[in-house]
Amino acid sequence: MSGLLDLVKPRRSLSRRKRADRLFAACGAGAVFLVVLWIGFLFASLLVRALPAMTAYEIALTVQLEPEQIPPDNPRRGNWRGVLAQAVADLLNAEAQTLDAELIPSERVAAKLLLSKGAAAELRSLVIKNPSWLGKTGTESARTVFLPVSDSLDQYAKGLLVPSTQDGALVSPKTAELFDQLRQAGVVQRKFAWRFFVRADSRFPALAGIAGAVKGSLLAIMVCLFLSFPVGVAAAVWFEDFAPEGRRTDLFRINVYNLAAVPSIIFGLLGLAVFLNFFSMPRGAPLVGGMVLALMTLPTVIVVSASALRAVPSNLREAALALGASRQEAILHHVLPYALPGILTGTIIGLARAFGETAPLLLIGMTAFLTSVPEGISSPATALPAQIFLWADQPERGFAARASAAIVALLIVLTLVNLAAILLREKMEKGRSR
């Protein structure tokens, strides 16, 4: 008896074991805390940096679109800078009583000091979109438009730049004071930066947006889905249901599984050599980008689909076959629907990874500067991560906030995609258990 009791008796005291237990749990909780802290820190710092890009200071200008300045038949060749200089001079005259006289700059430099360098281009594209504004004279030719203020003043207003009297300073205290008075007069307003969401890239921070890059990314991802999902699922089905047992199949399988671990830049090199140089497909097109990303996602889709198929209870398949279904019927009607939630989750996660990928796109030219939103899968485009890379390397200050905002946009898209994957899976699994 005593011998048996000795066996049951704990080696260590109960309190020590409980303490070790608590410590073990605390380690886990600590790890989670660290992860949350890091992610929180990352998100917070990104959001703080991105916030300035969400608003823009704009100046309300009344421009005179007289035919002698802007020829109605060829508005592109109009004297846009002249129109703006006149409009700024008029504005300062009209506000003369609310402004300190010594702050008002000479007419020659006023537009340059206050307005963004891209204001002329912005006004031009605005008028080209509204041709009915042209061809009028006198007061009828006047239009009130909101145009972005200069990059430095925008930075100053957001507290990112301190005026200084030193030579070559970006904002002098005098200009800053004038700007503040214009703000009090209501001429300069802080507005939501809608351009950031609807425009393609620009060399002016105030006019640059992510729409072009987002569309380029989505087009590439669509091509990627279109290629990798059918091929991946078909390959997984073959591996799980049709492949003959043997060394050759194992070799195939191991090769495919290893491909999933190949660095993405290798797929970019492959795309460069095969798609661009051999098939001479257009450089920088979402079509090629999507094909390269599909090569990269394919192994992931195969691996995930194969394991989802493997997780289907074998009696489901066997029951179907026993009832006389062909193998094709058993797979299409019973096995695949059962495995679909897993397959879809895997595919979506693979696509999410492809969405954030830059390295392969760099090599096939999807990192170009483009001032228009891509039209289709064969027109040149930029991807969102490549856009972030481009903006981070620009000298203009305003691009730093834009890069952060683009990162936030990328993270939001990825979070939504992952959320969709989870919801889809839950919904389908609920449907399956019914």
């Binding site: 592109r76 281009a121 031009r124 594209s125 730049l161 301190v162 200084s164 030193q166 070559g168 300073a169 970006l170 393609a200 620009s202 060399r203 279109f226 059918p230 799980e240 249901d241 047992e245 661009l276 140089n277 098939f279 001479s280 497909m281 257009p282 450089r283 920088g284 097109a285 079509l287 094909m291 074998s314 398949r317 066997e318 076959l321 026993a322 009832l323 006389g324 279904a325 062909s326 193998r327 094709q328 019927e329 058993a330 299409l332 009607h333 030219g365 990192t367 170009a368 500067f369 483009l370 001032t371 228009s372 064969s378 027109s379 481009l390 981070a392 390397d393 000298p395 203009e396 200050r397």
Partner: protein, 377 residues
Amino acid sequence: MGTLHAPRTIPTTPPATNKKKNLNPRCPKPRTRFGFLVSCGLSLVWAFALMALVLVAPALARDTVHIVGSSTVFPFSQAVAEEFTGLTEFSAPVVESTGTGGGFKLFCSGIGAATPDVTGASRLMKDSEKELCVENGVASVTEVRFGFDGLSIATSQEAQPLALTPRQIFLALAAEVPQDGNWIANPFSRWNEVDASLPNEEIIVFGPPPTSGTRDAFLELAVVPGCDSFAETKSLDKETRKQRCHRLRSDGPFIEAGENDNLIVQRLVSDPRAVGIFGLSFLEENRDKLRGVAVNGVEPSFETVRDRSYPLVRPLLVYVKNAHREVIPGLEDFVAAFVDEWAIGESGYLLERGLVPLEATARAETQEVALSAKPLF
């Protein structure tokens, strides 16, 4: 996984009677034929679409101008591309920053829609690159010099103002320096060891990596002239001279900071002892945080670069593939827009981006060369 495989012995064709009678109303009739047709149809459509993608895509003619090349020329190509889009009906040009060497490699890879039309360079085309072009059928290329660009050396605003000469730059940064007729590994670790007039501060210089055109220009314009100012250099043969004068130290004081100039700016701000080397636009854009380092007594600024009193100035060029001129819509107009007075003239919009314009006569010559497609070789 093998155990889950369907046993091969089970007969796979169902008896015909099963198909017709649907005994259990809750269990729908198996849609065998339908499913088969759908899957067959889908895979056919898919295969056709894939073939179409692969075969048709290259046949699509390109209707956008494609520019690659130097990251130094990139901001200027960007500006011209954006203005060009605003001024004409042509679709927006594609501008890629690939580095000067990478640009030439793509540019000289052949003729056709898959190859770029224009490449930017911050140095002249090398003979090896010309050979590559000719080898691949790029027979006629026009060289367009459109201006100059400044480099800058800078410190944080908090640092003491610094003024250097090429000789001091060479002594501080070269791998080997001459001393009493011998070449020895660079022994200096503080600025006042290089020259007693300089502050008693550690030498910490952030500069571009060897792959960067900025590095080549910095060596050519600041380090080599400093190297040549020593009597010991004169007696060296060409190869050794090149080796001695072009090699920067790798024992710590000179730090390769990667291609991103904004990173160097951030590091200068956080460490007032540090000195950085980058494009002039980055100094101009961060005047509130940075201070230029005078070279030969001249501070870097757009003005001193423009009047050529500041020595660190390099040429900017673009190369145009003449065989594409008639084929790619808008290329002719794009080249014209690039050399227009409105772009590269004395008050052109490229000056906003830090371009130093050519003299009026040189500019006229550039415009003539660019528009007449004068071949380089």
